[in-house]
Symmetry: C2
Subunit: 177 residues, 2 copies
């Protein structure tokens, strides 16, 4: 193998295996966290995204959640059957269907967020030594730049948005309801 090709391959391998290692750890901890609520990871992520965006289209959920459109749709339907969300139109956009949390959905989501314990989230724990040294959590600018290439700017914006964990159960009715 040519040195250049070997270098590309080694870099790709490193990135692939680092991504796998991170995700497998996150996946395990995320599953354990929400297991008591009888939700799987996709279902929980759908509730979370729909909440953050005050109602999200299936295509929004697929994009922001890095999941297939069919996965987003099928699990949203399951959540609808459980009464945790509804498919409805927005006042300002009658053409598209949005997934919106029901009151019960909001209560369940906020209960999961309330019991989140970062001590059981290993990637968080693994970040503490960096925080200790630099006084803040790492920003992963290289990683963010790569993910921006894979997805789009909106995907990245979800991490900065002040609307993160925006709504609370029993907050005022919104225009799309």
């Amino acid at each position: 193998m040519e040195p250049m090709a070997k270098h590309s391959m080694l870099y790709s391998y490193k990135l692939a295996v680092l991504s796998k290692a991170m995700w497998k750890s996150v996946e395990k901890d995320w599953q354990n966290w929400i297991k008591p609520f009888n939700l799987n990871l996709n279902e929980h992520h759908i509730l979370w995204i729909a909440d953050q965006f005050n109602g999200a289209s299936i295509s929004d959920i697929a994009s922001y959640g890095a999941m297939h459109v069919s996965t987003a749709f099928n699990f949203s339907k399951k959540l609808e059957k459980r009464g945790l969300l509804t498919f409805s139109k927005k006042q300002e956009d009658k053409r598209n269907t949005y997934v919106c949390l029901t009151e019960e959905g909001k209560i369940l989501l906020h209960e999961t967020l309330r019991v989140f314990n970062e001590q059981t989230f290993n990637v968080y724990q693994g970040s503490l030594p960096i925080k200790e040294i630099y006084g803040r959590f790492p920003e992963f600018s290289e990683l963010v730049s790569i993910v921006r290439h894979l997805y789009d700017d909106d995907f990245i914006r979800q991490f900065n948005d002040d609307s993160f964990i925006s709504s609370k159960p029993s907050s005022k009715q919104r225009s799309y309801l």
Copy 2:
């Protein structure tokens, strides 16, 4: 939610979703790459690790490949049935069983590596602008530090090791054969 708790949650969410986004992209590209060889991702990774380490125990494969021990074992058995690897003892360690590539396994693995095309590997492509600016690929030191916390130093060492893509088909017989 308290500002501190919200900050921890937002950081954890960002890390979780970035990891997912990276891994889903890698997974898709990796699967497409090796599909013509009738291998799945775990099988290919097992062949690769066994090759890098000149024979690897099931526990090595599970550790370095970030997979369950049962996944490592079951897919290794499948590869054994296809004649791509054998379970054998090493000369210097008669107690443990090592997974070693057969000549056919080496030929297949090296054929997959030969046809690797970084242009179809999106995380690689997404790294090129960084390489353009800094003259080298990113090192992901923050990520590596977190993964070192999750796994161990050996896990990280696999990316630096000069033994990467070490053996070639028809190379001289090794002590464990």
